[in-house]
């Protein structure tokens, strides 16, 4: 399956991926409305780890044998049979954070605004062909491709 790969060499640490990820997962999908008007603050599911000059963006790796799915107590965390994308069905999620505990990458974040849920990368499956982070990276430091491409 296609995944998002980070190229640390060219990551400039601007965090535009975080901003556009948050917008892509907002109510309005409009950058200004999302940040200025929406009650639930937009939250990115991608995190830029930086200690300049080193920086890279990290998000869910959509593991083959995903520990978060095994650990999920409600069955909210699922892997798409066709797509391979690991998603969290937020209305079934009870916010127990077990997935966060078991994720080897630290790629799941807590969203405690409103109903407590675990928020994670869904590769923008419902919105776009290319994930928002990849599309908006100004330096092509994120690539969306098959492994080894």
């Amino acid at each position: 399956m296609k995944r998002v790969y980070a190229n640390e060499t060219y990551c400039v640490g601007c965090k535009l991926c975080e901003i556009h990820c948050a917008v892509a997962h907002s109510e309005s999908k409009d950058i200004i409305k999302a940040y200025k008007k929406e009650k639930i603050k937009p939250m990115p599911r991608i995190v830029v780890e930086d200690d300049m000059p080193i920086s890279f963006a990290l998000q869910c790796r959509h593991c083959e044998d995903a520990p978060c799915i095994k650990a999920c107590i409600t069955g909210a965390m699922q892997k798409g049979e066709q797509t391979g994308i690991v998603t969290n069905e937020e209305n079934r999620c009870v916010g127990c954070w077990t997935c966060i505990l078991v994720c080897p990458f630290g790629a799941i974040v807590r969203n405690e605004q409103g109903k407590k849920v675990a928020a994670k990368c869904d590769l923008c499956a419902e919105i776009e062909d290319t994930p928002a982070c990849v599309k908006n990276c100004p330096n092509e430091a994120l690539k969306y491709e098959e492994e080894g491409e």
């Binding site: 060499t9 060219y10 990551c11 400039v12 640490g13 601007c14 965090k15 535009l16 901003i19 556009h20 950058i31 200004i32 940040y35 200025k36 300049m52 000059p53 908006n136 100004p138 330096n139 092509e140 430091a141």
Partner: protein, 501 residues
């Protein structure tokens, strides 16, 4: 600390209706203009350090930023302008010479814009380059007086080394040190992709770039940094740099802070030491001395590499060029007073040298009169801004042109002219790791190659319009040029008629 009399040059305008406090500007400004205040949840700007490089403007995801000229006015005075006064404040404070980056920005006449090209109408047909072949190939090198053949028709004349380029545009010398490794890599890749040459500048050649040898000109300048036999043989040609258009008569100075591990290894100097290029070559005080260096280099490379000699366009350029041709150079490079640089004393940059258009016309004329124009190729530099400038340069007599400023603009440069600070926000004129990585050679080499391709297409269109199907047929064809708004003397030097004549 006493009061700083300098006033800010620019203002940062932030549209608060659009600013989402994402702090991208804060993270991207190497001059630390933007700061985020958590208590107020607002991004503020201290514009004192703003150089108007547009990095924040273009990175802002909501287009909330704009940079304006500062609204602060001095009392109107045609003589004591704001910049004249600010420069005095700066010098009164520091006691130092003023430094500048890039080329001469003063409003001197730009002769490219005072010359117009011809086109065919009725009596000789124009050519459509999309339907008919159009040659932009250029062969640089010394051409023999005559060629001789044996009975079987094989050429018996020994040809001096020649370089074939697919376009009359080359990337001019920019050293690794003055520009980043990623910028250097981008130029090398683009030169290979488009069949032209880039130039190492006086910084030596990093081992990683030896693979681009066929598309490399290796430079030998007064500091002789990074020069050894392997280096001389690594490129397609060798360039002896006598002078540079932005700072004729002046040497170079790469501050020790920029001499990191890699720059030090490439230049063959200790890490952290200042790299000082003397103003003259200490072994060249005459044309005869220059001849010795040219032949030393030819000897070291087995007479297989053409030797270029680069000078700044100065008052006696024609006589100097004639001497260079007679000293055995294969190519003469002339750099006009608008040529760029990483750092030059402001007064030198803005007041020394002459326009490349006039120098080119005068040199081409002189070499023709002396019957030695065939012995050298002529390359010109010093602010060739577009393909029309290239065509006009060729019509005035140039074999090809160098582009430096245009190339860095293609890489993202926004002409803030602060290259000498080492804080280039676009990753071009810097060695700071976090800034260098902002320039991705994969993206930027494509941009450079696109520029060369676009200009080459345009050159073909203009040639076709003139009814010419090869750039060689335009060379020195000054009948294709007409002056506009020029004096008799200027027309005489350019060797062209006035429009309407």
């Amino acid at each position: 600390m006493s009061l700083n009399f300098n006033v800010p040059e620019f203002m940062v305008e932030r549209n608060e209706d659009r600013c989402i406090q994402c702090e991208v500007c804060v993270r991207q400004c190497a001059n630390e203009v933007h700061t985020y205040d958590e208590e107020d949840n607002k991004v503020y700007a201290d514009e004192t350090n703003c150089v108007n490089c547009h990095r924040c403007v273009l990175m802002c995801p909501t287009r909330a930023l704009s940079i304006k000229k500062h609204s602060l006015e001095f009392r109107e005075n045609a003589n004591w302008t704001a910049s004249a006064m600010n420069e005095i404040y700066k010098q009164a404070q520091t006691g130092g010479i003023l430094l500048s980056g890039m080329g001469n920005p003063k409003p001197y006449p730009i002769y490219w814009d005072r010359m117009l090209l011809n086109a065919s109408q009725v009596t000789n047909p124009s050519i459509d380059p999309l339907r008919e072949p159009m040659e932009t190939k250029v062969i640089l090198g010394r051409k023999p007086e005559k060629v001789t053949f044996d009975e079987d028709g094989n050429m018996t004349t020994k040809m001096p080394p020649q370089i074939e380029l697919s376009t009359p545009i080359l990337f001019s010398a920019m050293s690794f040190g003055s520009i980043s490794k990623n910028a250097h890599a981008s130029l090398a890749r683009a030169a290979r992709e488009t069949g032209t040459l880039y130039n190492t500048g006086e910084g030596g050649l990093n081992k990683e770039f030896y693979e681009f040898g066929k598309n490399t000109i290796v430079q030998v300048a007064s500091g002789r940094f990074g020069v050894h036999k392997e280096y001389l043989n690594a490129g397609a040609a060798i360039e002896i740099k006598i002078g540079q258009g932005a700072k004729p008569g002046i040497g170079g100075h790469l501050p020790g802070e920029k001499v990191g591990e890699e720059v030090s290894a490439t230049r063959m100097i200790p890490e952290g030491s200042d790299a000082i290029s003397p103003a003259p070559h200490h072994d060249i005080y005459s044309i005869e001395d220059l001849r010795q260096l040219i032949y030393s280099l030819k000897e070291a490379t087995d007479y297989k590499k053409p030797v270029f000699v680069k000078i700044a366009a100065v008052h006696n350029a024609p006589a100097i060029a004639s001497g260079i041709a007679r000293a055995g150079a294969d190519v003469i490079v002339m750099d006009g007073y608008r040529g760029g640089t990483g750092a030059a004393p402001t007064r030198v940059r803005d007041n020394v040298g002459i326009p490349i258009e006039l120098a080119l016309a005068a040199v081409d004329q002189r070499l023709r009169e002396e019957g030695i124009r065939n012995e050298v190729s002529l390359l010109v530099a010093g602010s060739v801004r577009n393909s029309a400038d290239v065509v006009k340069a060729v019509a005035l007599g140039a074999d090809a042109v160098y582009i430096g400023s245009a190339a860095v603009i293609a890489m993202g440069c926004h002409m803030c002219q602060k290259c000498y600070t080492g804080k280039c926000n676009w990753g071009i004129a810097t060695q700071r790791e976090d800034l260098v990585k902002r320039l991705n050679p994969e993206i930027v080499s494509t941009r450079l190659a696109n520029l060369i391709r676009a200009w080459t297409h345009e050159i073909k269109e203009m040639l076709g319009g003139m009814g010419i199907n090869a750039i060689d047929s335009l060379r020195g064809n000054r009948l294709m040029l007409r002056g506009i708004g020029l004096s008799e003397k200027e027309l005489e030097i350019l060797g062209i008629n006035h429009a309407g004549e």
